[in-house]
Symmetry: C2
Subunit: 335 residues, 2 copies
Amino acid sequence: MNPGGTTIKEIAKLLNISSTTVSRVLNDKAEKYRISEKTAKLVREKARQLNFLPNQIAQNLRLQRTNTIGLVIPDISNPFFANLARTVEIELRKQKKLILLCDTNDDTQLENETLALLMGRKVDGLLIAPVGLSNHHFQHYSHIPTVMIDRYFEDLTIPYVATDNLFGAYEATKYLVQSGHQHIACIQGLEDAISNKERIKGFRKAIDDFEIPQQKTSILGSDFSIENGYEATKAILKNETIPTAIFALNNQIAIGVMQALKEENLSIPEDISLIAFDEQPYFQLTSPPITTIRQPIEKIGQEAVKILFDIMNNKAPESKLLAPEFIKRESVKTL
Amino acid sequence: MNPGGTTIKEIAKLLNISSTTVSRVLNDKAEKYRISEKTAKLVREKARQLNFLPNQIAQNLRLQRTNTIGLVIPDISNPFFANLARTVEIELRKQKKLILLCDTNDDTQLENETLALLMGRKVDGLLIAPVGLSNHHFQHYSHIPTVMIDRYFEDLTIPYVATDNLFGAYEATKYLVQSGHQHIACIQGLEDAISNKERIKGFRKAIDDFEIPQQKTSILGSDFSIENGYEATKAILKNETIPTAIFALNNQIAIGVMQALKEENLSIPEDISLIAFDEQPYFQLTSPPITTIRQPIEKIGQEAVKILFDIMNNKAPESKLLAPEFIKRESVKTL
DNA sequence: ATGAAAGCGCTAACAC
DNA sequence: GTGTTAGCGCTTTCAT
């Protein structure tokens, strides 16, 4: 067999007909072009027999579309993004689109290169959770349908779908305060990512609304990793006064927090309370089960794909902020 | 700007030279073809100015390669595979390859379709964790460089890299037995997946070697999901005699087990012991911390990519079974 | 030192 | 009902 695969031309030759006819039959246009049932059948048979698969590369070049969507994500090993990827994959597959997966490791430079790569690949659309530090590199690519997920830019018109992070963080903080906490440390992720900024805003707003003295609270941390949660917690514990509660701004940070507390023999919530952004199955199994803010991951993925198709079909896309869900467990002590 | 992007032809026209020359310069072959420094400079300038990106589709068609690798995985939301995907992405990126990500949902039919899709896309290679129930569909694609990950087929010559599952399961079971357990329930994943079969073999071998009466042990379960772990555990608890220990054959099953035990107010390890295949950060944070068999995920990913490149470079590929690591924690009680 | 032309595999406009 | 031809954007052989 031809290593590159059977071609339309080969089938045509074997059947002594033109490749046009073959193409038409194989694209279910036999009827439209009133190709005889006999010819059509012959073509289909031969195609099956030779295990014919249309060369998508050639098709793509000709048709100027690739049925491929770029999915750009900061860290596929973060279960939030892994779950998102899964939903997106399922939705796109329904539309016969495949995903080019790119992991930017939350690095703007790499994101930049990635975008250029994907443009060269002529993806039909882009689903991206941008690093978020800068956005000027997106200007070049305004012609390609793009939806931002989880993170976005307020000064760009690119549609997005994300959790209502401000609201979620507000609710979490409110709960902490209403449970009697005033000394609260908030461990953040990437400082300039909008998801982070909004969560910080929500935290601050609650602190403000409930008139907690600013100096009793602190914000520290620098990225969405387990290590960051661990290091930040260690740092917190070095101070003279330690907070009564920690608010971890994502699931990985929360794991780091728990590791550090465990190492220091501090128990949750007796010694220190914990609340975390992002729900994961294991949070109900930790000791104690952790109170979390659940992001509607499936819905985010589905909406993102829907919006992407809206753009591709020239419908006016609409950005969405989806409500998170507060899941109360046992990691916050009432003072 | 041309929505399809600037082309070589456009640059050529603007500079009043041929597209051949432009192509040569842009592919760093100026010297080889002794193109004047002046022309070369002009081309490079214009290209930058117009934000030129070579159309990979056209390049791919012409060059008969796509710099794209298909990554086919049963479930990207399973952290084992998510972590694997990350490693693979990083390794492939070093070689300027991009990933087409496909999730088969552990469904042979879907895997089959996926493979056909990827062949049409003319991927340069395939990295696949096959469902494992059947393999005849792989025969069609023997011409394309393929490495199997995590799962493989013994009767196929396709190279693979996986954990030494038999050894890992043997060690786990041995530990259980040596801790005094005889009534052991093993909750398995997909029955016909080789990773599962090997783990079962290891389990059985240990049971045999240590002369535990067969009827004291049981094997149940049907896939690698949380739900399966949950349901199987519930089923186990309905019996007159319940086992003193459970061996969960992956991380998700283990979560399901813990959920079910918790619901039934049974505690680990007092009421029942647990040991799990797959290490995850949260296993040290659960109540109690879970004893696990760690798979060397990074190494698996790196080796798989290495082997794939070996095949593409006509070096003889070598399958690898990598040793897992036993991580002892507190979920197994000594009887 | 540069260009013309062919061709990768496919589809579609335009014949007849 | 079917075929001819052109062309998607690129690289490369062969000329000059």
